[in-house]
């Protein structure tokens, strides 16, 4: 992880060890995504010789775990929690409720119908 972590913190949201790690993973994934996609294509192309496909498989497996998109988790920007995060607001349910009642979320109001 230390080889990928930026020297200077560039996060404006709530800062947490886990948030830093997640942010680093996202940046690393964005940089290596074309390479990963190319390897995936080689693996899935049945017209290529089997040897190249197996080599591509090995290479993909040996890539650092930070390059994998599955390691990325949406975290709350106010509390850094990884569970109960709503995608539309990037916040946990409780933080969403606090901000909605304070009027900080445009268009969101208490529902009654």
């Amino acid at each position: 992880m230390s080889m990928f972590r930026a020297k200077k913190l560039d996060l404006g949201s709530f800062v947490n060890v886990k948030v830093i790690r997640d942010h680093t993973k996202r940046k690393v994934f964005a940089e290596n995504e074309p390479e990963r996609q190319a390897l995936r294509y080689i693996i899935r192309n049945l017209a290529l010789p089997q040897r190249t496909r197996v080599q591509a498989q090995l290479q993909l497996a040996q890539m650092h775990c930070y390059t994998r998109p599955t390691q990325i988790r949406n975290r709350c920007i106010e509390g850094g929690k990884g569970r109960g995060v709503l995608r539309d607001f990037k916040m946990t349910r409780y933080n969403f409720r606090l901000n909605a009642l304070a009027g900080k979320l445009p268009g969101v109001k208490k529902a009654s119908w």
């Binding site: 996060l11 995504e33 996609q37």
Partner: protein, 117 residues
Amino acid sequence: MAVPRSRILDLMKVQCRIFSHTFNPEGQRLGNKVLRQRLKGPALASYYPRKMGTYKDLQKAYPEWEVINEEEEHRREMLKIIKARGKGAPKKKRTAEESKKFKNKKRAAERAAGTAT
């Protein structure tokens, strides 16, 4: 009546040329769906908001200007009220011994209870 296969293939080739599709009449798995996928790296990387200027930075940059941080002022006022009531944070224990006062009391109480029964 039946159309020869070669004619249909030619038609498909022309269609693919016009509409920029891939020509694959036998349906071989060539992994083109991976190539068609959109790259989602930049979208994921911009999830967390970047560091922007805060009140502290404004004060540092322009010290002669008076900058009022409302949230900070509100927090300080609430602290004053709580302290006036006597409900503020407890004093920091200097040495380890001061923090062990509670433990000794507990042990003494247990011993007393043990000897009594």
